[in-house]
Assembly symmetry: C3
Homo-oligomer: 127 residues x 3
């Protein structure tokens, strides 16, 4: 099955927890793998800690330090940093599913990683 | 089905668009996921913008700025930067397929990312 | 099938070759894809050279240079660098399997990437 949902982002750089949205869509899967795919070139999908919001802040802060917004890029739209971050983080994750639940570690959440928001974005899943 | 094709690269660092090659190989797939795999340790697979060639340039330029060719590495072959970039970008992508078409966003292309060319490389796919 | 095994790490940053452990678990698979998943937020899975141990050293050294342990992060546990490295490298890899063997390139090994060890860790696979 291929399904999709939308994500509204509010910041230029933002990690939006989409774990429960993904889990809701795979609740009938007895055992499988769900591919979580971001169909955008200035955003990504990542899995990281969902408990302390400072982890999200630190990830975004450090990414922007490694890949600053302005650094003599050639792409004229002013969002080369967003494209670069997208390739560094990657636009898909594969998550195991068992009895309708995502097989994640205790502290793991699935994040939609926005690098050129705010925008209305899509996430496509396949299981 | 497992299939493969070759990619000839012309630069030490280069992003080669392999979208149409992958799509050609999955044209009989009604619905599924194709794993696009790079069996090399100094190259990778990434998905990013296919429209403006400056995006490719900026990605490669910034990666080489983050991970310079020479920086006191211990590996004697002089391509530690290539190995490091390979792990940062990742050697596979999972792409959803529907009715023989890759389910990609409007601006997305699949790239073979060469980090130690020019070489004759392989890409293996499984759907 | 979903299976798992444990990995004991001995250093704060370490790449542990898990190729043979994964291959042992998929030996009955005629053709498929195995998802290798790390259920931790301060570790990752990567594929890179298994021949020269200096490659592992260079990857870990450069990652720690890009993402130093202490750099004014906000997360209070002192391991923001580990979380950031985990998202940069990614917590899963998809590897093709044929006749019970992993379809890897000549020089490729699958690594459990520890970024906040030493710890006793888990790896979950699904094929």
């Amino acid at each position: 099955m291929i399904k999709e949902f939308s994500v509204n982002t509010n910041e230029r750089n933002e990690l939006v927890d989409i774990t429960s949205k993904v889990e809701e869509l795979v609740k009938d899967v007895k055992e499988g793998v769900v591919t979580v795919f971001c169909p955008h070139t200035t955003a990504a999908i990542t899995i990281n800690e969902g408990a302390d919001p400072d982890v999200k802040k630190d990830i975004l802060w450090k990414l922007s330090k490694l890949v600053p917004k302005d650094e003599g890029y050639e792409h004229s739209e002013g969002n080369s940093d967003s494209h670069i971050k997208s390739s560094l983080i990657g636009c898909s994750e594969s998550v195991i599913v068992k009895d309708g639940k995502l097989v994640l570690g205790t502290w793991q959440s699935i994040y939609f990683a926005e690098f050129d928001g705010p925008r209305n974005r899509r996430v496509i899943i396949k299981y």
